[in-house]
């Protein structure tokens, strides 16, 4: 366990170095946050009442932008990619550890670093924006606690999905396909393109079954007060279920694909 923690820590520290990247990312996310809110503002002013209030949606949008590192699926770690494609994996395989948890914690460290560098300034700015763009506080302390629990579980689920993408590279040998495919589908079913409450019922059911919304949707709608009571418990249970499934399935798949690894040349 200590080994995995060390791997996680080094990954975190390494990624905390990239301050310029964080600054650039922050500016982009502030810009996108504003644009999304303006679009929804126009939409809400022309249509009648919707299943999610505009105020709540604004909160969801800001939190999605602030914690983008936790929820986006297209974030690509070139190191892991090189390991698989260029054979650098050779060194990973001479370590006395299982590879799935090893890489899992590396990715976790990376996402956590990205999130920690960005979330605070974005939230700080969003709080001081004028109405209706401002980010409001949660209704109660409990809402905040539940949304944080859910955010943590969501991050763990998303890192797991990323792991599955990396394992698929063992078969495709190119990261492009997997990332594009899962990126586009995942983003849609996580409600990052159209908020899930605005989708037709059958699509919402589909989102509910798939794992993607447990990263970028559930924690933030809990914060906004749109998901309440027993729905929170069901949501958290779904997160835990998906986490277990991904860990079990992912470890199995990883072991299977390592048998076919060919490290050629040199």
């Amino acid at each position: 366990m200590k080994a995995y923690y060390a791997y996680f820590k080094l990954s975190l520290l390494k990624n905390l170095q990239y301050k310029t990247a964080a600054l650039a990312g922050m500016a982009t996310q502030l810009f996108f946050g504003m644009v999304f809110i303006m679009i929804f503002e126009a939409f809400y002013s022309l249509s009648g009442p919707q299943p999610i209030g505009f105020d709540q949606l604004v909160q969801v949008v800001w939190l999605q932008q602030a914690f983008l590192s936790f929820i986006m699926l297209w974030q690509r770690d070139s190191e892991l990619n090189d390991m698989i494609v260029k054979g650098q994996i050779a060194y990973e395989l001479v370590r006395p550890n299982k590879l799935f948890p090893f890489w899992y914690f590396k990715l976790l460290g990376q996402r956590l670093a990205g999130g920690l560098l960005r979330f605070f300034p974005i939230i700080a700015i969003a709080i001081f924006l004028p109405e209706p763009y401002t980010l409001k506080g949660p209704e109660s302390w409990m809402t905040l606690v539940w949304s944080l629990v859910s955010l943590t579980l969501g991050l763990l689920v998303i890192v797991g999905i990323s792991m599955l993408i990396y394992i698929s590279i063992f078969y495709t040998l190119s990261p492009m396909g997997s990332f594009l495919l899962v990126g586009v589908f995942g983003e849609f079913f996580a409600g990052l393109t159209i908020p899930i409450p605005l989708m037709p019922q059958w699509l919402q059911t589909l989102c509910f079954i798939l794992p993607f919304r447990y990263g970028g949707d559930l924690p933030f709608r809990i914060y906004a007060g749109h998901i309440k009571g027993s729905d929170i418990v069901i949501g958290l249970a779904m997160q835990v279920t998906w986490l277990l499934l991904i860990w079990l399935g992912g470890s199995w798949w990883m072991n299977k694909s390592l048998k076919r690894v060919v490290v050629q040349g040199g």
Binding site: A3, A6, L13, K14, A90, L93, V94, P96, K259, G266
Partner: protein
Amino acid sequence: MIHVENLNKSFKVSKRAQGIRAAIGSFIKPNFETIEAVRNLSFHIDPGEIVGYIGPNGAGKSTTIKMMSGILVPDSGQCLIDGKNPWKQRVDHVKNIGVVFGQRSQLWWDVPVVDSFELLKNIYKIEDKTYKNQMELLGDSLAIGDILTTPVRQLSLGQRMRCEIAASLLHDPKVLFLDEPTIGLDAVSKLGVRKFIKTLNREKNTTVILTTHDMSDIDALANRMLLIGKGQLLLDGSLQDIKKQYFKEKTVIVDHFENKKVLKIPGVTCKEQEINRSVFSVPVNQVKVSDVIQSLARDLEIIDIEVTNPDVENLVVDLYKEYNI
């Protein structure tokens, strides 16, 4: 220590001729060719040996190393290292081995070297005391003490390579696999690395298996040589024996005062004769070198005389030729 028996590994390599037609053709019906990287390989290595593993490019050296370190799963065959099967008991096995792949890096690019070491300390669960001792030993003998706090991306190749070797040895492995460890190193670093490997072998009885294209590495380090070509083991023996067997000629170079006589020594070919310098090739199993020198001393006023073996580099060329690889 290391026991390899009938190891086989083949790779599927895709083949396609040049041109658009071939590209479209391979889209519909891809062509594969099976290459047998390693065929029926068997050998045995005792604890404390330093073995040079040589062969031309593509002979299967790295493939063997990768199978022995548990990275590749062979198609068939047995391998036991310290009583463990590398690919079936990978996690247990790799605790006891150190591997350096000269072509790859195990250090984290953007962080200081010492961070990577610290990570390895945790990964291999090295005790604080052992870690400190190893760091002292490695820091001194590989001269990396000063560069530990530098990010890896700012190290020179030689510095990085020395750190790579240190990283592979932090956990004090019983077996060390070195896959081209001196690639790209300058003379000083090379000598440093060699000296260090020797010391390690002597003091800790570490078994070392070394692949390289630099024959002077083998000459300086290994007491045994395995030659592999086209996936098969061709030759296994001590370097001294192989040298004796293949070094059939010695070269005698004489610098002398002006001489215009044609020199003739029975059984010896004169390769070059100038006014003040002559070069002879002596077949050692027919003519004694001392006889040649005596006869030269009679005829010439010698300034300097030098007797040399062919270099190991040529030995390998001869070996490759002989085995047609």
